[in-house]
């Protein structure tokens, strides 16, 4: 690869800041079934927001509503408002694919594209976004891999299959792929649940580094993780509503407060291990 240390660092790091997400009265459905009810919360720019709660309470569903991935499931739809820096992503004339380019996503299981090399895994999103110039591609691939703290481990394996990496490396590859298209917000759905503690630690370090540039929303089952990395925490619970189980946001506050002086008794029961 014809890239040098100098050529990359000479480029001033784009002074990019994350966006704010204002979620207002959001309801998410699977067919006729209401899965998440009436969520209102504001995700602050350049913070890590953690979503926690027992299984099935709608954390993933809400997360996927934030970049309109929810509606990619057949029959699923969302109602309400999500303002990305003041612009409603659910407005009539907004194209979902454009929303997804501004709000990137990393999934629970690493999803490197099987038939593609490490390099191609990152370049594909760029190419499909219209970047064709080989030098530009090379530069962005290297920059993204560096940002994802993966460059040193894969710089000699760029043409190998993405599957030739370890699980933790694969997940960082997926993070690199997501940040390569320079989103404003990064959504992560249990990004560490398939990883060992060391790999988990590296991703957590990475998230703290990345929040300088991106707004990060992470779903996690690991309460220590939420406490370690996040600035704010939203707690979700399954509640009975009209005779049906529905996910609801029961408390949303700075992380320190959630774990020391929760205001809601359900939060307290959950974090002390009596629920969920």
């Amino acid at each position: 690869m014809a890239m040098t240390e100098a050529s990359v660092s000479a480029q001033p790091e784009a002074a990019k800041t994350g966006s704010q997400l204002e979620i207002k009265n959001l309801n998410a459905y699977y067919g006729p079934k209401l899965a998440v009810r009436d969520v209102t919360m504001t995700i602050h720019p350049n913070e890590i927001t953690a979503l926690i709660g027992p299984s099935g309470c709608g954390k993933s569903t809400l997360l996927r509503c934030l970049n309109r991935m929810h509606e990619a499931i057949l029959g699923a739809r969302a109602e309400g408002t999500v303002l990305l820096d003041g612009e409603d992503i659910y407005a009539q004339d907004i194209d979902a694919t454009l929303v997804r380019r501004r709000v990137g996503m990393v999934f629970q299981l690493p999803t490197p594209l099987r038939t593609r090399s490490v390099y191609e895994n990152i370049a594909i999103g760029l190419r499909l976004g219209g970047i064709k110039n080989k030098r530009t591609l090379d530069e962005i691939v290297e920059r993204s891999l560096r940002q994802a703290a993966l460059w040193d481990e894969v710089k000699d394996k760029l043409q190998q299959s993405g599957l030739a990496l370890s699980g933790g490396q694969q997940q960082r590859l997926c993070i690199a792929r997501a940040i390569a298209i320079e989103p404003d917000v990064l959504l992560m759905d249990e990004p560490c649940s398939a990883l060992d503690p060391v790999a988990t630690f590296r991703i957590e370090e990475l998230m703290i580094e990345l929040k300088k540039q991106f707004t990060i929303v992470i779903v996690t089952h690991n309460m220590q993780q939420a406490a370690r990395v996040s600035d704010r925490t939203g707690v979700f619970m399954v509640e009975r509503h009209d005779e049906k189980s529905v996910g609801e946001l029961v408390e949303y506050a700075p992380t320190g407060q959630i774990f020391t002086t929760p205001q809601d008794h359900r939060t307290e029961e959950y974090i002390t291990g009596r629920v969920g």
Binding site: N67, M69, A72, L74, T97, L98, V99, R100, R101, R102, G104, M105, F107, L109, T111, L113, R114, T115, I124, G125, L128, G129, C174, R177, A178, I181
Partner: protein, 290 residues
């Protein structure tokens, strides 16, 4: 209690053994004719193969005075004809079958999709002469011509359901997470299918196309009613053309000595080998990509 259990255990074991041997016997019964046919084709056919046989065209057999076998020519024109007719059929069936398969796997959820699935299942089970008759009525009757191209259309009708269903099945094996990963990058769904989902399934889809090609290359009935046979090399699909199945079918009547029957086995051998070679080529080509 214990003895009762033992007896039951023994009986279960016995039943298990009987059932297993029955399946083995049935499998052998099914395979023996298959091996006999294949073996016979190879033994009889291979000895008929010669450069002369592969590189010359048809000659009307003559009765020689001393009773010995006369030269019946070769099958060059038939090999070229089969490749052209089946190849053209593939060109017709491929885009339709591929797109319909993509539709069923990626978009097809409603009643229309169920209907399409049902229709392809029925089509793939129907006798090949039906395809020939349809083309005969629609094309041959109206244009009063029998072109090689019409044969291709009939063969394409047989290939489409196979390609549709294998494409659908293979695409369904591509994990949902792969699609999501692409869509989450802000790629429109159709682009995600073309650039990510389809490449991940190339091997399987090509196998399906191969199966369809193999089926088409060996069909005789649709060609009988749609194509005029030519006994020399033809490259124009809008004209008459020879083919291996038609060669076998027609030469059967004209042969006089058992010696001459060898050419039939030779043609059968070439037809089988043709399908096999294409199959192997595709496999080699796709293995390198994974």
């Amino acid at each position: 209690m214990k003895t009762l259990n033992m007896a039951r255990y023994r009986r279960r074991k016995l039943v298990d053994r009987i059932m297993r041997s029955m399946t083995v016997v049935a499998t052998l019964l099914a395979l023996i004719p298959l091996f006999l046919i294949l073996g016979y084709i190879v033994i009889q056919g291979a000895s008929a193969i010669s450069w002369h046989f592969l590189s010359t065209d048809y000659k009307v057999p003559e009765l020689s005075l001393d009773g010995s076998a006369s030269d019946v020519g070769g099958i060059r024109y038939a090999i070229i004809g089969t490749l052209l007719i089946a190849g053209t059929a593939t060109l017709i069936a491929l885009p339709i079958g591929l797109l319909a398969g993509i539709y069923l796997s990626e978009y097809g959820k409603g009643r229309f999709a169920s209907f399409v699935r049902f229709a392809t299942d029925v089509l793939s089970g129907s006798p090949s002469i039906i395809a020939g008759v349809v083309v005969y009525i629609v094309l041959v009757k109206t244009t009063k011509e029998k072109y090689a191209f019409y044969g291709s259309v009939a063969l394409a009708l047989l290939m489409i359901p196979i390609i549709v269903r294998t494409t659908e099945e293979i695409l369904k094996l591509v994990p949902q997470t792969v699609r999501e990963a692409a869509v989450a990058l802000g790629v429109p769904q159709w682009k995600a299918i073309l650039t990510v989902v389809l490449p991940a399934a190339t091997g399987g889809i090509l196998t399906g196309i191969m199966l369809a090609f193999a089926r088409a290359a060996g069909e005789t009935a649709p060609l009988i009613v749609t194509v005029f046979v030519s006994n020399s090399v033809e490259y124009n699909v809008f004209g008459s053309m020879g083919s291996l199945p038609m060669y076998i079918y027609r030469t059967l009547d004209e042969l006089t000595s058992p010696e001459q029957y060898k050419v039939l086995w030779g043609a059968a051998f070439v037809l089988t080998a043709l399908v096999l070679v294409v199959n192997i080529l595709v496999r080699v080509a796709t293995r390198r990509r994974v």
